[in-house]
């Protein structure tokens, strides 16, 4: 008897977390596609448009990495709130990478959908 089969949903949860983590870079680049946003706006966009709830302690280091890779650029802009905010925007390389990743995602998603179709019917 498989001991996990009885009462341990943890592996599926872990898999979902890993899946979502893997998508995070694409999600952030996609959030910036329409224009520049600052960190908190990116977090809110991810939450509202993709259901991804990202830890704040994750998104800022990741933005820093994307900037080091030349995929995004940043600028400080004075806000009406009275303090400056750091806005991020896609660079040309970032747009190119976003297109590539979005294409890969679409192809992968499409092929997986075919494979998973029988599972959905059997629901």
């Amino acid at each position: 008897m498989n001991p996990r089969a009885t009462n341990d949903p943890e592996p599926a949860d872990k898999w979902e977390v890993q899946l979502r983590k893997g998508c995070l870079e694409l999600a952030i680049l996609a959030a910036l596609w329409d224009g520049k946003l600052y960190g908190l706006e990116i977090l809110r966009r991810l939450e509202s448009d993709s259901d991804l709830i990202v830890s704040e302690g994750t998104v800022y280091p990741l933005l820093s990495r994307l900037k080091a890779l030349g995929l995004v650029r940043s600028e400080w802009v004075e806000s009406e709130a009275g303090h400056p905010r750091k806005y991020y925007a896609l660079t040309a390389a970032g747009k190119e990478r976003s297109r590539e990743m979005a294409g890969m995602w679409a192809r992968f998603s499409s092929s997986m959908s075919k494979l998973l179709a029988p599972l959905a019917k059997g629901k």
């Binding site: 908190l40 994750t58 990495r65 709130a81 303090h83």
Partner: protein, 206 residues
């Protein structure tokens, strides 16, 4: 205009001061940029919550993680960026030393990576030095007793070791392949560990 009480500001600055001390390897401008961005973020968060109570400040800081956790995230993300750009073992090791100073996990990854790089470089050196020290460089099996022996990679300095040389001139291609392989595997190991270290921080709303 956003107003942050003096007490809230002190708590934020104390947090940022701890973080500053842990962002090793970042230059002054980079550290200032990180701290300014987080200060701006926290100000916005408090303004959005409409509260400046100690509990609200603590909640905003908790969402970022402890200064150690956040610094660890910056350092491992920095390592991943360096690895994507150059894959240079020196760059990887620099980041690993910083990570090691923040966590046991980082320390263990550093130990493993140092071992991997060291062995890889020794094998490559052995292969490269064999033509210059044909009688003393190579892979040797040295008996330690009746049933025991030591495998020793010799770079060719010193006397001819007691024991038996194995591989002979085959150490040249073998050392180069194994050495390069170990260096590449160690880099992959370090990058894999850095990715694993990133906290499971992407959740579903449901």
């Amino acid at each position: 205009m956003t107003s942050v009480t003096e007490n809230a500001q002190q708590r934020i600055e104390a947090y940022l001061a701890k973080l500053r001390g842990r962002l090793r390897g970042f230059n002054d401008a980079e550290v200032r940029e990180v701290l300014d961005e987080l200060r701006s973020h926290l100000t916005d968060k408090l303004a959005a919550s409409g509260q400046n109570t100690p509990a609200a400040v603590d909640a905003a800081l908790l969402a970022l993680g402890t200064p150690e956790e956040l610094a660890s995230q910056y350092i491992t993300d920095n390592l991943l960026a360096r690895a994507e750009v150059s894959r240079s073992p020196l760059q990887i090791l620099k980041s690993l030393f910083r990570w090691a100073s923040l966590s046991i996990a980082g320390f263990l990854v550093l130990l493993g990576s140092l071992t991997g790089y060291f062995l890889g470089i020794v094998f490559m050196l052995c292969a490269l030095l064999k033509p210059f020290h044909p009688r003393t460089a190579g892979l040797w099996i040295i008996p330690d007793g009746a049933d025991d022996f030591t495998i020793s990679v010799r770079l060719g300095f010193g006397n001819i070791p007691a024991g038996r040389e194995v591989l002979g001139w085959w150490i040249v291609p073998f050392g180069l392949v194994v050495g390069c392989g170990l260096v590449m595997l160690t880099t992959r190991f370090a990058v894999w560990c850095a990715r694993r270290n990133r906290r499971p921080s992407v959740l579903s709303r449901s």
